[in-house]
Symmetry: C2
């Protein structure tokens, strides 16, 4: 399918162009392109931006957005989140994930890296929505051998059923964290990852307690412990990465692992520290951005995450120059490059994952559209979304959204008597 977008403001060039998309790629960017296309979109009064990648989330947790705010992390998990999660059915997760995809599409994200229960529900939802994702089979065994064995069995079944089934969806492994998964479980994940050449997505050094407990229990801090079990490679996505010391930053660099910065969740849950992003960059560690689940953010809007990550790191570095807006867009599109896709600068030959945003007072004037994207925009201004050369949203409308909303509300009603 080919698409021709006429007269759109190219954010990186800050000039009006036409864009021709064919076979999933941006084939041509020129003024006044005279080409036939299956679909023509009028880009007048719209700005062309790259699509964003949300590299740490738990999509279906949109069900719990605003359900339990302003609580301490452990109280939040133990008294609110875990009890309600234990009641979730696969269908709940299916509708939750569909709704989360809707929120992500509506705010300009086409790729996300997930970790949640009820894999079948997640997979079906993402496939139907036409988005890209890394869906990771969750493993939590709480150091119980029976649960660990059960996890192995379930994970292998998931791989049998879904691995390499859909080119947009990568199936990976989601051992939750060092404090919830046994060494045996982590080793199993590392080995299966090698065999399948896929990703591991794990939480790392989010709180000081996690680090201290790991030292008490294993005699090592989490990164060293994970490395000994073979978890750290260039296919490891490490969420949070807050409490890292200099030798751990070097270790991540040596293994070429990927750190995922989640500033909003970290600040909202008051984890105390900040990811040492500058030091990680100085060691050439790849860095992505993520929102975390909507229960601790409370939205999945990556433009907001860009802004907050930028200003938090400037403030931490005591340097208004670093990072700059271009660096931040690079981080927010890094997920595509992790998957080997060229997305981020809107050049000819790039994979066609991009969005059009409506002009609005909050992103006007256009001295620098890239700067506006990071510091002024809201994802809610997204009007049109293209993923892999296919239209997922046009004029703010996603096909089938009424049905998704209706069923999402039914699910909420069943779980919480909330309509």
């Amino acid at each position: 399918m080919s698409i021709l977008i006429k007269n759109v403001l190219h954010s990186f060039r800050n000039e009006k162009v036409d864009i021709f998309v064919n076979n999933g790629k941006i084939e041509k960017i020129e003024k006044n392109l005279n080409l036939q296309a299956d679909k023509v979109i009028d880009g007048t009064d719209k700005v062309l931006y790259p699509a964003l990648s949300n590299m740490h989330t738990h999509a279906a947790m949109v069900l719990f957005k605003g359900y339990a705010d302003d609580l301490k992390l452990m109280e939040w998990l133990q008294t609110k989140i875990w009890p309600i999660e234990s009641k979730l059915t696969e269908e709940d997760v299916y509708w939750g994930t569909k709704f989360a995809c809707l929120e992500m599409i509506k705010t300009g994200t086409t790729l996300f890296n997930d970790m949640y229960w009820h894999f079948d529900g997640c997979y079906k939802a993402v496939e139907e929505m036409g988005m890209r994702a890394i869906l990771n089979a969750v493993m939590i065994d709480m150091f119980d051998e029976e649960r660990q064995k059960f996890n192995e069995k379930r994970t292998l079944e998931i791989f049998d059923r879904y691995f390499n089934k859909n080119p947009l969806i990568k199936v990976g492994l989601g051992p939750h964290a060092v404090y919830t998964v046994s060494a045996k479980g982590l080793k199993f994940a590392a080995e299966l990852r090698e065999e399948k050449d896929t990703f591991i997505h794990i939480h790392l050094s989010e709180t000081l307690t996690e680090v201290e407990d790991c030292v008490k229990k294993c005699g090592k801090r989490p990164p060293e412990y994970l490395d000994e079990l073979g978890v750290l490679t260039d296919k490891t996505l490490l969420a949070h990465c807050i409490w890292l010391n200099p030798s751990e930053i070097e270790l991540l660099a040596k293994r070429n692992s990927i750190a995922v910065h989640t500033p909003v969740s970290n600040m909202k849950l008051a984890v105390g520290g900040i990811m040492p992003k500058r030091e990680l960059r100085e060691h050439n560690v790849r860095i992505c951005l993520g929102t975390d689940g909507a229960a601790s953010n409370n939205n999945l809007d990556m433009t907001e995450e860009m802004k907050i990550s930028a200003i938090l790191q400037k403030w931490r570095n005591n340097d208004a120059e670093m990072p700059n807006a271009y660096d931040v867009v690079h981080r927010a599109t890094e997920g595509f490059r992790v998957l080997g896709l060229k997305v981020g600068k809107l050049e000819e030959g790039d994979t066609a994952d991009f969005i059009l945003m409506k002009m609005h007072e909050i992103i006007t004037p256009m001295h620098n559209p890239v700067s506006n994207f990071v510091y002024a925009a809201s994802g809610t201004l997204t009007d049109t979304v293209i993923c892999n050369g296919r239209v997922l949203m046009e004029n703010g409308y996603v096909e089938g959204e009424e049905e998704i909303k209706e069923n999402f509300f039914k699910t909420l009603n069943r779980l919480f008597n909330l309509t």
Copy 2:
């Protein structure tokens, strides 16, 4: 004029109600109100929130949004902002302020506290837009006696022309800061404020350099210095308030002055510290929120400022419980109470400054609409804005907005060749 809003979700009650507005007040809140009104608004699929107060900004600086980002504070001011500001005409500021008002209305703000050049242009713009504001006559003399005398003359002229002219616009004094205004200038402002019973709006302790230079020059830190000159009273709005020590917090409490928290600007410009909000609250100091100018934010969206202030303070306090969403809405509406108006909880008898937001995936589900306002919303979802019982925006449209945009772009074209 009376307005009846039917079937809207009341954010604090989390239930659908009708709202009857008359003579600038919320007269009745009930289900199924059967009353005649001059205007009826359908609130279906909309959420009722209080309007917000932006208590530190330089509105016309929307002209420079994105013009000079990612620079150090002094480089930003000296090489970019001040040179271009010196070229501004009154008409430029008039259209800049009108456009800023448009952005504020479109994102749910009906009151702002401003400090900018070309007072006549600012005043005319705000009056025409029908918003509330405290407009403060800027004073910068750089310790030059001639300039100080000129400031006195100009300020008195402004008061002659505009003081008490419009019930929605309070005319106040804007001596810029201790490093830009002489003691004589500050004293003049303090005395005129007493005479007129109005406000002083001043920057305070934004950077450590400001504090150190003040100590070097005057032998005192800025709060003590200002207090000796009579500047600190219960009618003093102090923007930033970052580098405060415990005795200065006590001093602010004693004088009942008002601290304005501006987290986004402070982080973006990398001023290093954070306002000690918890300590100020412990001393019952009144606290407002503000965006600062759009050149250092880069938008005027107070919902974003609410979220960032909340998560930054939780993180700083190392306490996920504090502040909570209700505290934050209270701060974001404190500006109204500074003016003696009851706005913030949407109760019968309140002054009718409120907004309706469109339902959107990013603020769904409605476990807690107040929580959604602070942690999930974007101001761009604002659909309808009522200020002092008058409709400023309906269905996302502000009367006359085309003309404002056209002239704003003409101004940008003249100043920057930007269209």
